[in-house]
Amino acid sequence: MPKAAPGSWTRQRSSSIGERAVELGLAGCSLVSIFVTIGIVVVLVHEAGVFFADVPLGDFFGGTTWTPQFDPAHYGVWPLVAGTLLTSGIAMLVALPFGLLAAIYLSEYAAPRTRRMLKPALELLAGIPTIVYGFFALTVVTPALKNVFPELGIFNALSPGIVMGVMIIPMISSLSEDAIYAVPDSLREAAYGLGSGKLPAIIRVIVPSAWSGIAASITLAISRAIGETMILAIAAGQSTEMRLDPREQTETMTGYIVRIAKGDVPTGTVSYNSIFAVGLLLFTMTLVMNVISYRLSRKLRARNRT
């Protein structure tokens, strides 16, 4: 703060032109977000267009063989989509029960002090760089799982899926906890007043009325799992065979993009350009999830306001 008497800056002469310029400048900065959104779409559509000039759309979306580096090359994207869905599915199998139960515990059972300590602690999980999780999946979790499933490969879908699930637990637990915590006490009291116990009230009244917030957190978590890259690039492997066996190695859409971009393939070739087509599909999938989540959380906010 300057040493001037309080309030002196409020009386300085101000030009309305200066004010207007500041407002325009701020509006200009905020336009960057719109340009970035447009930029993503333009880059992906343009570069994918180059790819689709060589490979028909029908082959890309209809084929089940993905062999860009073989001769003849096949560009059927389904094996990569299957890899993404398999690992995301495993991650959600882990994150969903843990995240929801943690949210219910923190909101309804934990003492306020415990809640204040445990919630940020859980959020730490989301703050660890994904490269660290990848290292962990490959060097610790896979060998540990091998004791249970001896036929597990060095690269497999199971271990990175589980680790990714742990990583997204706080996405579900934090947002769901916010939603459950925001359920008005009058609903709890009404349920107790009708003779309900705590657990039945949670299952039949509180969780259902927080449902749109919980669903928003789940869709956001799915979107995060679909787009996660490094854990899979490190620990899932590179097989693009079409299969859904979690013990075998697999390659996701993101894993493929990283492997090609890393320099496996010279730029400008059809197989290099294929990463943009895969990227466009990935972007579309996450966009759909994000839009659903955005709608759901707005519904929640609109309801809470009344």
């Binding site: 500041v22 905020s30 977000s33 309900s196 787009g227 971009a261 972007f283 999830m289």
Partner: protein, 293 residues
């Protein structure tokens, strides 16, 4: 429509003290099991890596001989990246947040920007890498330079800065804005002299969150051409560069026990930098919160 007694009976369900007790224990497990996994992860990495860390590891160059290799160029690359990223993303993000909260609350443009930001926050980081490759590396002709990497990361963390700053601006009470306006201050002077100073703790927290995110990102850097095992530190914004996560990725992907130990040691350094950043955030927040009005 059920009668109220039916509803009451339905709500009562089959209540057993044991059912609830078991449920609470299961739920408690759901909180502590992930935390235990985190402890297992960090403990494992520290046991593997800590003994490998010495001054030579921090100041040394990558080497074919695992036990001689160091992370100096990668570490310097990461410091360049996060500094430039913060310098680019912070003013842009704060300006956007100020526009949305203080100026354009009701404008159509603000509504569109809001949707764009909500969408950008959920875009996978690898897609930002493709954007950076298309726009900064190729179209703008920056090539695989540290500035192209930093611009890409800045766009990636922009939503974090914007959301944290908006949150901070919202905590400033309207009565203070009204008081400044009533004294004859313009909207910008009110923002600059009253609202922003009071929002500094929140903005700083957002800045550190953004930097913490940027320093661990790997996938976008692969796309925009960061070098996996670089032998020199950047000497300018147009210099080729490596980064700590890129070096970790390189060492992890080779099936060699000594290189994996190096990766663990580099992870320890990365986690320590992250912890330092976050302690600074907490310290700053406490320091400023004491002066809260």
């Amino acid at each position: 429509m059920k009668g109220s007694e039916d509803v009451a009976a339905w709500l009562r369900g089959r209540q057993g003290v044991w059912t609830e007790r078991v449920f609470v224990w299961v739920a408690r497990f759901a909180v502590f099991a992930p935390l235990a996994m985190l402890a297992w992860l960090l403990g494992n990495v520290f046991i593997d890596g800590a003994s490998r860390i010495d001054w030579d590891f921090i100041t040394g160059l990558p080497s074919r001989h695992a036990h001689k290799a160091g992370i100096y160029p990668a570490l310097m690359g990461s410091l360049w990246l996060i500094t430039l990223t913060a310098v680019i993303a912070l003013p842009l993000g704060v300006a956007t947040a100020v526009y949305l909260e203080e100026y354009g609350r009701t404008s159509r443009l603000a509504g569109i920007i809001e949707v764009a930001i909500a969408n950008l926050a959920g875009v996978p980081s690898i897609i930002y890498g493709m954007l950076g490759l298309g726009v900064f590396v190729r179209f703008a002709g920056l090539g695989p330079s540290v500035i192209a990497g930093a611009l890409t990361l800045a766009l990636l963390v922009l939503p974090i800065v914007i959301m944290a700053t908006r949150e901070a601006l919202r905590t400033v009470r309207d009565s203070l804005r009204e008081a400044a306006l009533a004294l004859g201050a313009t909207r910008w002077r009110t923002t600059w002299h009253v609202v922003l100073p009071m929002s500094i703790p929140g903005i700083l927290t957002g800045a550190i969150l953004a930097v913490s995110r940027a320093i661990g990102e790997t996938a976008p850097l692969v796309l925009v051409g960061a070098v996996a095992a670089i032998r020199f530190a950047p000497d300018g914004v147009d210099s080729p560069y490596g980064a700590l996560p890129m070096q970790i990725y390189k060492w992890t992907s080779v099936p060699n026990k000594d290189l994996r130990t190096n990766a663990a040691a580099a992870i320890v350094v990365l986690v320590i930098v992250l912890l330092l950043l976050n302690s600074v955030a907490i310290w700053l927040r406490n320091r400023y919160q004491k002066r809260a009005y």
